[in-house]
Symmetry: C2
Amino acid sequence: MEFNFYMPVRIVAGENCVRKNAALFAPFGRSALIVTGKSSARNGSLADVQAALASNGQAYAVYDQIPPNPTVGSVEEGARIAREAGASFVVAVGGGSPMDAAKAIAMLARQGSEGSIFTRAIGADVLPMVHVPTTAGTGSEVTPYAILNNDEKQTKTSISAPSLFPKIAFLDARYTQSLPRSETVNTAVDAISHAVEGMLSVRAGTLSDAVARESLHWLLGEYDALRGGELSPRSRQNLLYGATLAGIVIANTGTTPVHGMGYCLTYFHGVPHGRANGLLLPAFLRVCLRKDEARTAPVFAALGMGPAEFSDRIAALLGARETYDDATLHDYARRAAANKNVRNCAVLMEEGDLYGVFRSSVGA
Amino acid sequence: MEFNFYMPVRIVAGENCVRKNAALFAPFGRSALIVTGKSSARNGSLADVQAALASNGQAYAVYDQIPPNPTVGSVEEGARIAREAGASFVVAVGGGSPMDAAKAIAMLARQGSEGSIFTRAIGADVLPMVHVPTTAGTGSEVTPYAILNNDEKQTKTSISAPSLFPKIAFLDARYTQSLPRSETVNTAVDAISHAVEGMLSVRAGTLSDAVARESLHWLLGEYDALRGGELSPRSRQNLLYGATLAGIVIANTGTTPVHGMGYCLTYFHGVPHGRANGLLLPAFLRVCLRKDEARTAPVFAALGMGPAEFSDRIAALLGARETYDDATLHDYARRAAANKNVRNCAVLMEEGDLYGVFRSSVGA
């Protein structure tokens, strides 16, 4: 039994938890930068954060220009605003994009924007952060990762450091209640992918596996709701909880080539991140099972179904698929094979394997 | 779904993890105080810690005078030595007593010994700590608690603060291999008690309950080994892992009157802490079941057995029981009813209930 486990984020969950626990913001100083997307906070979350800060007498500026798939330019701009506002901490409100961008902003605000954000050593000098997710998928609220568009390499690239863990994650599923079904499905599939990929990581361990199984229990328990049933407040709670658990998994394990492959579909075609993972995951798992049955069987045990049923169920959620021609998929396989996620997978995938996954998933 | 969860300790588990990860000690500065008991480090643990520190060029002093059930005097002495040695961090090596004492020492070394350790506000100014458990029971390596003898109140009293969480817990089950069976049983029963009591806490939540169930899975899976079978390296690993999980539970939930009651048996009669809990736990659970079946039934579901079988199984582990006369038990019930653990239990226990538990558990 050999493993490392680290997840230092304080999780505060429950209805109205932001306002009820406003005092938890107080230790972070006099002035916050709230980082959010153009519309991702229109669910009560931003108002709750503002009310909590105001009740402590804390000032705040709002930077709401984070695009989906955040760019380096947007986080540099956010860092500039944080410095100008004298922000002593950052509050992220939104889905994966604002939450990831907030981490980069919290770093750049202290460390400056000189040099590539993707290659620098990230030290401990990062503004403290509080994350308030408004989607149930990314798990960014409990990870040390920020994933940004990397235009030089034409992909999405993650940066990571212990100092990028938020201090607090507030989980209030009411903020996810108004999400359209498509986004609810895409983000839930992202979370399922996190739990599954975490189990196949070279860094998987007894404890991360236990969290992954628990995560899948809650996420798959809402399958009928995702598929077309009522997305009740209870379902929203379970999905948010399951997604956060899956975030705890990848905080400790990282992801696998599924994420590296998915980045191609997102970067070049704008396929939503979770959907991109979901399109690829079933075929990826079939290759894993063929190459290393012993390592892969526990994943299907955790899913409670075999590869065919898993494919069918994910397909039913995602609907009509995007397709790409063969030359494009060869190019993407080559790109994905260069991603560091490949080395993080316990089942070693060659470029040809990745091409095969692409072709059977999104081949024309 | 309303809960708070916080467990910021980095867990590093595996055979030889201390030496393999010696670099993790390096950031804590030039000089350590190693805190241990008179004999609790004679299992390779102290030597491994010393080798790891030496490989980093870090100096250390060793304070090995922590008694079982640590006294205020012993931690004040340890703090004095830490200051004299210019220690920048503390390494705890041993069971619950050295690990708890190390937390108090790390605090007093920075904050001085003026005023009662039991009533002061514990701030953030505490030396960073690395914990190396050599028993599988206390979970102190992942909690913010230190429990010390409180002679003024004639009991054991816990102090608690977020700053008392260790930075790192190294879990190497080899250090527990040479423990005598009695101590192995007592500490395992302590861990079982932690998981069970955590599920009955007013602060229990979905996540702590999941960790508790996982903990009981591993601990009870070694029942036959504990009862008299071979305590193999694999069994030792499972017990240590289960005990750490149970520690994660109580870090978030605290304990219940079982602990407050057990302190009487330990303080006045030297009954080992885990054994004291184990003597009381089955009868305590029967009272819980009678007073609030809905709240208690999930505990028995997690145990995978009913109250009678649980009583029998714990009794078989503990052997012949200590007994005390009625006047003594009335006195202990009165003392235990004043413990803050009573208010932490979801099933409210009156003094008469506690007396009943005492009487049916250790009545003459």
